[in-house]
């Protein structure tokens, strides 16, 4: 054994990797911009290989098809309809991720919220005013999503059930649940239209449709205002409240949290409940906005939200920016798909994936530092001092 030991010492690695204490914010931001540009360049190469003019295509995507459109109001409100669920879901997920609780159940919680919201919408009397009914729907949706989250959190803290895998399973259980309601024509199934022979989700009653504030021709949806307000609320909650502080301590080190007298189990249950509650709310509000259920109602927000939260480094304002940009990409490629027949909207997934690959790789240089062993001890020491 001693022989091996000696050999080890002799051949100290030439390149060593050590952790570093954060990089300047500007550099980090530069990394991200470079990552996006690099991804767009790779995308452009792919487009050229299909004989598509990348500049033309990107122009179409980035302007979400508004150019040459006389009345883009409809487009803008459609865009907002796509943005709001993603924004709320990403914010909610960042809450759980901050605690290193891997809630990947956004899809399922969103669907449960949507189902509960729709159930409320169909059972409310027609006299209830829109604001009241949207609030009731959101609360019901939040409760449904929140309970699913709470169950996961409870199992985690009580029995140490793996939350990543459990929420993954719940996603699909919820998905097949909504598919069941969408495909089963029965007397009791009030989600479906009574007048249609084939199973078809019915439209929600008029008094439960998301109210809008009209500014000229543009109608601003209440849920949009809510989601932007949530950005600020979330920021304050995480930065300036005791509960937010507890979350970051639990996320950093559970042992420290316990030592500091924080009731870790309660913090986890509470935070995951809030996270899932918000996602459920987003689901219910999306039903109210889009006025109908659909088996693809999530539009992948549960998955995309994870990517957004991660790209934004769990910062609320960055989430607002990133979810806006990702929605431009996704919504834009959807509108562009109508013009470019050989590129469908999944091109956005491809670009999104490449961006994240580069960012994940770039993260390494933000978190770690490469030290080249020049043989002199000094350089290592310097690195440690830094």
């Amino acid at each position: 054994m001693s022989g091996i030991g000696k050999k080890r010492v002799k051949s100290e690695p030439f390149i060593r990797i050590i952790k570093r204490e954060g990089l300047k914010k500007q550099y980090a931001a530069l990394f991200y911009v470079a990552a996006v540009l690099a991804a767009l360049c790779i995308g452009a190469l792919l487009l050229v290989s299909l004989d598509v003019d990348p500049i033309n295509y990107y122009k179409k995507v980035l302007t979400i098809g508004m150019i040459g459109h006389a009345f883009p109001y409809k487009l803008i409100s459609n865009f907002i309809m796509n943005l709001v669920p993603l924004l709320i879901t990403s914010l909610a997920l960042s809450l759980a991720f901050k605690m290193r609780f891997w809630n990947i159940g956004g899809e399922g919680q969103f669907i449960l919220g949507a189902l509960a919201g729709a159930a409320v919408a169909f059972s409310l009397p027609s006299g209830v005013n829109p604001y009241m009914s949207v609030i009731l729907m959101a609360l019901a949706g939040g409760a449904a999503g929140g309970l699913a989250g709470l169950l996961t959190a409870f199992l985690k803290v009580r029995f140490n059930t793996n939350e990543t895998l459990f929420t993954l399973m719940l996603n699909y259980i919820a998905l097949y649940m909504i598919t069941y309601f969408g495909e089963t024509k029965r007397e009791w199934n009030f989600f479906l239209r009574a007048d249609s022979q084939r199973p078809k989700f019915s439209t929600i009653p008029g008094n439960t449709v998301m109210p809008c504030i009209r500014i000229g021709d543009l109608s601003l949806n209440i849920s949009f205002i809510f989601s932007v307000a949530l950005v600020f609320l979330m920021y304050v909650y995480l930065k300036n409240t005791k509960q937010g502080y507890e979350i970051s301590v639990v996320g950093d080190s559970m042992n420290t949290a316990r030592y500091a007298g924080i009731n870790v189990k309660r913090v986890i249950c509470r935070t995951v409940f809030i996270s899932a509650f918000l996602i459920g709310t987003a689901g219910a509000m999306h039903v109210s906005t889009s006025q109908s259920l659909s088996t693809s109602i999530t539009n992948d927000v549960g998955w995309t939200g994870i990517i957004v939260a991660w790209l934004a480094e769990l910062n609320s304002f960055a989430i607002l920016l990133v979810s806006f940009l990702i929605t431009v990409l996704r919504f834009g490629s959807m509108t562009a798909a109508s013009e470019f027949k050989n590129i469908d909207s999944h091109f956005a997934d491809l670009i999104q994936g490449i961006i994240l690959f580069i960012v994940l790789a770039a993260d390494f240089f933000i978190r770690f530092k490469i030290v080249i062993n020049t043989g002199r001890r000094k350089s290592d020491e310097e690195a440690y001092v830094k």
């Binding site: 952790k19 895998l165 459990f166 097949y176 998955w303 590129i343 670009i351 994240l356 690959f357 390494f364």
Partner: protein
């Protein structure tokens, strides 16, 4: 169709249409045994399937297809390994990105080829088709009822079983296999005895992903390689594979059983009408089971398995270091 015919068709469907799941599961078990939770199975399978099918058709050989499916998927594995092992990126996020990216690439290539009018359609005069057609195992395939159902499949189905058995043997009885399991349980100890962790992780993540890719190719062949802009060939099986890993308790032999059990639900979905009509007395109730419930059943069962195994605190084979990156200087 007579009763025996219905049963044969049912059993055939259980095996033929679900063995893609076994590949995904075996690949994921190999990956997770190295301590990495790769949530990119769905994307990896899709990329492997697309690469394998297109290149397999252009070389007009199923073997070329298998090779390229393996290589394409292994490249996805390489990306995952590079990001999580070398770049220390979060495994959950990286895995999900592999899925997003993989599905994006699948649709991108598929749509591009389809729009250019060069999509290879499977036809009986192709070598690829001949290679992918069912091969009867002599004697065994002549057993009444089950012979036709179990021993008359294409080469990819047989390979799935062989791969599962080989991986089981590898993990249980070979030195590298034991070392790999040690890495999954306690990388620091494995490192201390001189195992090259980085090398082992890279190799096994890549081989695991490659195996998933062959599964994707099998699913593509089962659907005669017809590409639609809206659906993937893998159709969510990558996610079920992740579930099946838990159900099979990280053991590839159990994974064969698990594939058949999960496959039963899927085959029931397609065949419940025929079964209920043929055996109204015994299986008549099948008609009242919603097909969506059968689709959800693998996930429901896995969720229950997850909860029960954690409540009873029974020792599962889940690698202790699964999902955690190994950073040497944290020792």
């Amino acid at each position: 169709m007579n009763a025996a015919g219905v049963i044969t068709a049912f059993l055939f469907a259980v095996i033929q249409y679900n063995m893609g799941l076994l590949y995904g599961t075996v690949g994921e078990i190999l990956t997770e045994r190295s301590g990495s939770l790769n949530l990119g199975v769905e994307g990896t399978m899709a990329v492997g399937a697309m690469g394998g099918y297109l290149l397999g058709c252009s070389f007009d050989s199923i073997y070329a297809g298998i090779l390229f499916a393996f290589i394409f998927a292994a490249v996805c594995g390489l990306i995952f390994a590079f990001l999580t092992v070398t770049m220390q990126a979060n495994q959950n996020v990286t895995g999900l990105t592999i899925t997003t990216f993989g599905l994006g690439l699948y649709f991108f290539i598929g749509n591009a080829v389809k729009a250019s009018g060069k999509w290879p359609e499977m036809s009986p005069d192709m070598g690829f088709w001949k290679g992918a057609s069912p091969k009867r195992i002599p004697l065994l395939s002549r057993i009444p009822v089950i012979g036709e159902a179990l021993f008359s499949h294409n080469i990819l189905v047989y390979m799935a079983i062989i791969t599962a058995v080989l991986v089981w043997w590898y993990l249980k009885y070979t030195k590298p296999g034991l070392r790999l399991r040690a890495i999954g349980e306690n990388p620091a100890s494995a490192d201390a005895v001189g195992v090259n962790i980085t090398f082992y992780k890279y190799v096994h993540i890549m081989i695991g992903s490659g195996i998933m890719g062959i599964g994707g190719l099998l699913m593509c062949v089962s659907l005669s390689g017809s590409f639609e802009g809206s659906n993937t060939w893998t159709n969510g099986f990558g996610w079920i594979a992740i579930a099946l890993v838990i159900f099979a308790n990280w053991n590839t032999l159990y994974a064969i059983l698990g594939t058949i059990v999960f496959g039963l639900f899927y085959a029931l979905k397609a065949n419940s009408g025929a079964l209920a009509d043929t055996f109204p007395g015994v299986l008549g109730w099948l008609k009242s089971v919603p097909p969506q419930f059968l689709s959800a059943l693998p996930f429901i069962i896995t969720a229950i398995v997850l909860v029960i195994s954690s409540i009873t605190n029974k020792k599962t084979n889940q690698p202790a270091a699964m999902g955690l990156n190994y950073y040497r200087e944290d020792r």
